[in-house]
């Protein structure tokens, strides 16, 4: 469908488009983050059972949700990249993986810091925690595989295949608390009934989820531009860009 577009112009246009979109994502991220975190930490009421330790929810849940959203994005990009051989899609996979890995790490770490005072243990090998740990390993595997090849076209394809293989982990993570006996509690807001969280606690949580989502978008665009520059560094448009920056 994009055959008429010159292949080199395509990369250059994507770079410019990503650059145009980036500030919008940042504009959405910063206020929702600031309001959400201040509201969540200082203004939301303490939980009736967990007291103030429940405030860890404001990073734990957004990070965990967006770690999975990042993976879904990667999986779609990997599928498109493999079937239609869109190189840009494979670059998006490589750009997203490190962000997803960081989000997953945050979800695991904050979960541990929350589990210790509430459950009585930093870590339990229950199905939810284990499948989330596997997600981190899958992310690291994708990053390692991508960096293992010096031929980036081959690297992108390998990373995309591994991404698709790892997709089966997503439903396992989500439904682990339903399918098995776990120490981790069930879903609070992503269930079909009304969320089981008080409104004045829910609003800052939704804001934090929103800011984690837009920040994810921002970082994907930023790192996608890095991938483009890296791969096209011998093309005229990158050279022109570098020269313009040197002069400016």
């Amino acid at each position: 469908m994009l055959k008429w577009l010159h292949p080199y112009a395509k990369a250059e246009h994507s770079y410019a488009l990503a650059g145009k979109l980036m500030p919008w994502f940042l504009i959405l991220t910063i206020p929702s983050f600031l309001v959400g975190i201040v509201w969540g930490l200082a203004f939301a009421p303490a939980d009736y059972q967990q007291g103030d330790s429940f405030r860890i929810i404001y990073i734990h849940v957004p990070a965990a949700m967006m770690a999975m959203a990042a993976y879904s994005t990667m999986a779609i990009a990997a599928f498109v990249g493999l079937v239609w051989q869109v190189r840009l899609a494979e670059m998006a996979v490589a750009a997203t993986a490190p962000i997803g890995a960081v989000y997953t790490f945050i979800a695991l770490f904050t979960g541990a810091a929350w589990g210790k005072p509430m459950w009585g243990a930093w870590w339990v090998w229950d199905a939810r925690l284990t499948s989330e740990l596997i997600l981190l390993f899958v992310y690291m595997g994708i990053i390692a595989l991508y960096n293992a090849f010096s031929d980036k076209v081959l690297a992108g394809r390998a990373a995309s295949i591994l991404t698709l293989v790892g997709v089966i982990n997503l439903p396992i993570i989500h439904f682990s608390v339903v399918w098995w006996n776990t120490l981790h509690q069930g879903a609070t807001i992503t269930k079909f009934e009304q969320p089981s969280i008080a409104t004045e606690m829910l609003i800052p949580l939704l804001m934090m989820i929103f800011s984690f989502a837009t920040f994810l978008g921002f970082m994907i665009l930023y790192r996608f531009r890095n991938e483009l520059l890296q791969r096209e560094q011998h093309r005229a448009w990158v050279v022109k860009l570098v020269q313009a920056k040197q002069r400016g």
Partner: protein
């Protein structure tokens, strides 16, 4: 406001260690991610600039040989 004073806020109802540990490590991870991305971008620009410089020098050297 859920707290009566600033020290009350810092104490987090006795869970200060866990809450601030979670928030601190998360912030650190995000900062690491951002700086890695920014540094990568700078590195690429530097790489390309150095290559251009080198090519320019080689070209200049070739021209001098021709003129001799």
């Amino acid at each position: 406001m859920a707290f009566t004073s600033f020290s009350d806020f810092l104490a987090m109802g006795g869970y200060s260690f866990y809450v601030w540990l979670a928030y601190g490590v998360s912030l650190l991870s995000v900062i690491t991610l951002i700086s890695h991305s920014v540094l990568t971008r700078k590195k690429i620009f530097k790489q390309v600039a150095q290559r251009l410089q080198r090519e320019k020098r080689i070209k200049a050297a070739n021209n001098r040989e021709h003129n001799l």
